[in-house]
Amino acid sequence: MRVRQLRLIARREFKERTKSRTFRITMVLMVLLVIASVVLPVVASRVQSEPQLKIGVLEPSDSAIIPAINSIQSGLGAQLRVQSMPDRARAEAALKARELDMLVVEGDAVYLAVEPVSGAPNIQADRANAIASTVHQVEVLREAGVDSAEVIDTINAPNLPVKGLTPAPPRNSEDAASAYPALILLFVFLTLGGAFILNGVIEEKSSRVVEILLATIKPSELLVGKVIGIAAVGLLQGAVLVGATFASHKATPGAPDAGALSLPVVVYAIIWFMLGFALYAGMYACAGALVSRSEDAQNLVFPLQIPILLSFFVGAAASIGGPNPVVTVMSFIPFTAPMTMLERMAAAEVQWWEVAISMASVAVTAALVLRLATVIFAGGILRSGQRVKLRDAWRNPAG
């Protein structure tokens, strides 16, 4: 492979992609999206303080009920205003008029203005249930003869700790969470990069410019040059978006650190992008070489998207939900390793040799795939018209 020809192909890809209007508009929109995702939650949290919950308690016979309800305020995620109501009719009228959010009737029920739909998620109903449980505890304790002060202490006593028989695997939860945005970026760039490769190959094939190119360069040079050029576009996009993320975090006081990108995770994501892209790009190029129109490519591309989608969802779930044996297995399978191993690395739950094995498996598979892809690419790229069968492309590599 000649470096000069590779550079020419890669430079053309990079230049043409990055100077297109669509690319610039997409970049601006993505940067705005990143900034908005950092800034808007901060702004929203400032504008919207904790909701206020007005609770009426009907003629409490027990003086412990109101303090008990107030004592669970932090667990309810709302500011409580608990007041004693003189009679039921006025209390219900206040609830109907939405002057109250809830009405606690001792020994009866906790009422809401409208009965919540059973099974449907409803934060107000959850709060009502928590209050109902607390009131019930107070009633039981009082019946057992516990005095008011002790009732409050008992309700606020810490729960039993939950422990494991063996210690938890080392896991940096913050970094694991920071893998989530990195996973999104990796998923977007692998998918976008694949689409760029696919469309680029189809464009060259359908416009027949490939015939002129192949008169001066080898199919392998065209394929690898294209992959390098488009990978560079992906890295540029990634750099801009990561820069926008860091900058908007820095410029937004109060932006939460949780879920934000961390520098080590960015480095891991770059490494896995390059390895993953080398692996998937060859397959996308083959798909492009076998068809003459974008419409025909969709069926061929779908199987290629399955491992990317699967590893994204599994990796994303693990970044939020914790270690998972499925993720561990997938992080060693070359086609799913880029995203799942990125998540495990971010969570710092892997040994260096695990990373080395995973990277080596992806690198070796990518080299093999690119080698096979070159043969199929060469066999399919000059055949126009209907879809080329994989077998025919393989058997007639030179047009």
Binding site: Q5, S20, S207, V210, E211, I212, A215, T216, I217, A398
Partner: protein, 297 residues
């Protein structure tokens, strides 16, 4: 000189090349003729290394072709191909660089050819902003920018207007005068007659007639004779052993059995009246083509 010798290539059950040979000398323009599916494009692709033959040999100046030699060739495929959204000069520079030119040289030479082909000032425009005819001229400029030693053009005249045809014909003649070897395929045989010195006719993957235009069209059995105010309008029919092919007023095209009969025709013409014209008639290239292809099938 480009030499393709005994090329064979099969695609599944379709034999594209079945022992085809072709020679293109430096300084000559060769017309590469054949019906659709005769193997012209496949042979051209073999010369460019795009297609690998099952057997046979392709050489340039007696050396096997490789990427370095091919980078000195210029190719214009039948189905034109350039990047539609790229700027005109951008792609000339890109393709020139792929042929080992420095970027600045490729730009300068590309600009020169654009001007020469009547496209001055379009360099910065996107290709798809140009008319189809002008896109074809850009394609030609892309073929010529790197000063190729061999030009391989697949149907270069198709889609060109008369001005474009004249311009391309002149360029091809001039390139040949400068020592470039030129081969092109075309179904426009009058253009081939106008531009080429040599013709290779192929059919079913084989070369069936090869020679200079003069050799291929020469005959010694057809005479064009014109006699003004003949004393006998039927004089041509009275020459023994001579068939009259066409008659148009005083002008007749007759077919003789052998060259020795030409004297008999001349004598008969003199007897009939004032002889204004007497010559052996050349075949039209279309006739040579038809005969060659029919003979094969």
């Amino acid at each position: 000189m480009l030499e393709l010798t005994n090329l064979r290539r099969k695609f599944k059950d379709n034999i594209a090349l079945d022992g085809m040979s072709l020679q293109v000398e430096r300084g000559s323009v060769v017309g590469f003729l054949g019906p659709n599916g005769a193997g012209k494009t496949t042979a051209m692709r073999v010369a460019l290394g795009i297609t690998t033959p099952d057997s046979g040999e392709a050489t340039w100046d007696n050396k096997k072709l490789n990427l370095a030699t091919r980078s000195r060739f210029g190719y214009m495929p039948e189905e034109r191909g350039l990047y539609s959204t790229m700027s005109v000069i951008g792609q000339l520079e890109f393709l020139g660089c792929l042929h080992n030119m420095a970027p600045r040289d490729a730009r300068d030479k590309g600009t020169y050819w654009l001007e020469r082909l009547g496209l001055a000032g379009v360099g910065s425009e996107r290709l798809d902003a140009l008319s189809l005819g002008n896109q074809q001229r850009v394609q030609l400029a892309a073929t010529l920018t790197h000063d190729p030693e061999l030009l391989i053009l697949d149907e270069p005249f198709s889609g060109l207007d008369p001005t474009g045809i004249e311009s391309l014909s002149n360029v091809l003649r001039q390139r040949a005068e400068d020592g470039v070897a030129v081969v092109f395929s075309s179904h426009q045989l009058d253009l081939v007659e106008d531009v080429c010195q040599k013709v290779v006719i192929v059919n079913k993957g084989r070369d069936v007639r090869t020679g200079t235009l003069a050799d291929l069209t020469e005959t010694n059995d057809r005479i064009r004779v014109e006699v003004r105010n003949p004393n006998d309008p039927q004089w041509t029919h009275k020459i023994p052993g001579v068939d009259v092919l066409t008659s148009n007023g005083d002008s007749h095209l007759v077919k003789i059995a052998d060259a020795s009969q030409s004297a008999a025709v001349m004598n008969a013409a003199r007897s009939a009246g004032e002889v204004r014209h007497f010559s052996f008639e050349r075949l039209k290239l279309s006739e040579v083509f038809r005969n060659a292809v029919r003979g094969e099938s």
